[in-house]
Amino acid sequence: MNTKLFESDTRADWCPGCGDFGALSAVKNALASLDIEPHNVVISSGIGCSSNFPGYIRTYGHHGLHGRPLPVAVGSKMANPNLTVLAVAGDGDEYGIGFNHVVHTARRNHDVKLLVLNNEIYGLTTGQLSPTSTYGQRTKTTPYGSSIYPLNPLSTLLGIGATFVARGFSGKVKELSEIIQAAIKHRGFALVDILSPCVTWHDIYDQVRSKMYTLESVGHDSSDLHAALDRSKETDRIPLGIFYQNEDNPSFDELLRKGVGKQYPVDGIRHMTAEEQKVALSIFS
């Protein structure tokens, strides 16, 4: 499918050079490569520079509240499992205020894909320490350098038992697109942590470029949890790719449908059937 189908008529208003542009290209490319029609995609975002994302890609979009892209995505997917549902947001959104939703969406293995545009900073609010900001980083809230330990989203997700954990770099669009495609095809929840530098408040392009390598290149086995954990904890080098994937577990939605069957909420806009009424009345007697 042509990525043109996903073009918005709104110019992305990120700062020139912002990493989010690369992520945007990668997502368009991934959806087109998988031949998913724009109207069958929902992208749910939060609030932040990164969360302006839905306006710049022609799919259904929900540009909601800071930290809450996942609940909206989960509700959307549960209401209509035919849709491809992505959540795209910032590190503040997803690793800070909204991280509890990440934890529980991951452990329940909902079939939604989380792309975190991780710039290690609160961009839109003009540069405060984020949960992934590094020890020593100078920001508006740590003018003398941070003495707060950062969150490692990858090792944490591995600890949760997430079934797909990956890291991409917005400066490597093709590779990123491939990771996103794998995430979309994955059975259940997927986290793609995307290093997406903020050129205004915390430019880490050079740092990433100098430290990065692909997991593929070292023959990493993405079914090996221990290896994944070790790789996820590396700090002197930056591994990119799929750290861990496990497709043995059915997704939340598969399990749900086993019980409730294919009666999707969007199709259920109807009165009770006679049978259902009987059940209802029996409860009242």
Binding site: G61, G75, S76, P265, V266, I269, I283
Partner: protein, 594 residues
Amino acid sequence: MTDRDVTIRLGASAGDGIQSAGEILTRMLSVSGQYVCTYNGNQSLIRGGHVWFHLHAGNWRVTSLGFGIDYMLALTQTAFDEHIGRINRGGAIIFDPKVVKSGAMPDGVTAIELPLTEIALKYDKRPLMKNTVGIGSIAALLGLDRKEIGEVIELQFGSKGKAIVEGNINAALEGYELTSKKFVPTKTLEFDYSKKRLFTHADFALAAGAVNAGCRFYAAYPMSPASPILHYMAANAEKMGITVLLAEDEIAAMGATIGAGFTGARAMCGTSGGGFALMQEGFGMAAMNETPLVVVDVMRAGPSTGLPTKTGQGDLNMMLGISQDDFPRVILAPRNPEETFNIMGKAFNVAEKWQVPVIVLLDFGIGDGGYATLENLDFEKPIDRGKIVTEVDAEGTWFKRYELNEDNVSPRTIPGTPNGMFVAKTDEHDEYGHDLSDVEAGLQHAVEKRVKMMKKRMGKLDGIAAELSLPEVVGPKDADITLVSWGSSSNPIREALKKLWSEGVKVNSIEFTDVFPLRWNEVAKLLKGARHLVDVEANYTGQMAGLIARETGLVIGDRLLKYDGEPLEPAEVVEKVKSIAEKESGISVEHQAV
């Protein structure tokens, strides 16, 4: 047929199974043609503490707890001591003299001493059936046909096996026989065994009403007294095709509900006040991006954790001030389970037609905490989904989801619809859902659009108000005293009116079920015609009176406010009205003992 009714109370320790006993009794009377209304006096812990169950039943449509207690079953000393003072003259109290020391009885109250434990131990190792014996005794006092007892017990315990069913039946019958032999009932009911009446509490009624209105998505985090809605949805998920999300918290429950609503489901979430506090930001989002949804708050006595298993109507102010800045919202407060079932069609229709979030306010007293008879359930109220568009021309990149319109409601597409793409925005936006807040904020054209968008959203309120119902006026147009109430506080008023009218007091009642938005000028007219207004509600500050004052300038000076966690009783209303009547007429009216 004369009006007959009776009030019954069962008191015991938590764990004695008094709730199930109360349910049996309620069922027994319901299948015998009685209207019922009950209240569950329970504790916020799992075992221990004193609990009770109150039942008001009669051959007319009772709405609240009635006056005092006619018959009481006291399984513990505390039960006896706590309630003995509220038993009516001519009433009776059943207890086991081996357990309860009665002392001197109040005037006109009969002590019915039964060997409850002894009988219970005949049928089980643990004396759990003593309340069944008590039920039998009460059945005798009421003059109930003994064969009804067996049927209902069978229904209740059927799943637990034949031995338990039979034991219970025999225990009940022993209580029945002993009592009929020894006591002449002072107050009996008029039974009609051909009339099987339905009953439930408003939580279940709401769940069923929602499903019937097409709601097949429910998200929640457990919270008393709203949890039964979740239990209903979970228990019936497969039978009725309901998708249920037990979320990680209320924020997620609200978020998922918005996601589902946005995606085209009729979606609902429910909680109690503390959980609603957490849902507020999401609620504001739904109002801003015009996503239809219904949210239920089953109120309990607060503030904060407060009295988690007690009742109150203290959350109205919260609903008037949900999250930041002005946006449209709709508040409905059905008075009882039947009205709750029936209002759900309206709740979802308003939500979808006007693309706004709708709040349904219940409280513990009518929710989890009280059963009432269901009579007229409307399963057929038409479903109106409003301006959903299913086919969109291929022109243009984005769909004009927030088109400015005469009626302030824009056409709506749902994900999956080709060419219908838009971004649902919480930022101020233009007609396509593009940001006005981002690069253009403050520019003249953006400022003008912002004003239009604000007017569009807020303008819905007039349209909705035109559709919502004015308060119901009950009783004579020409009254000396007018009681004003909303939601459940109307229930005791109804019974108070009956009594007051019978004593010649000229009183009527104005009852709000639709609370906001209303045609306030009409409300003002209604209220300004009254001679003496009394606001009756279950909170400290008189929140509904506050809303009325805010909207109409009319300050209701006289108030009957109850904020102790206990349900408002008709006697309290009667007393209040009489004290006013007395003062105003100068004539002393006999007081009702409360």
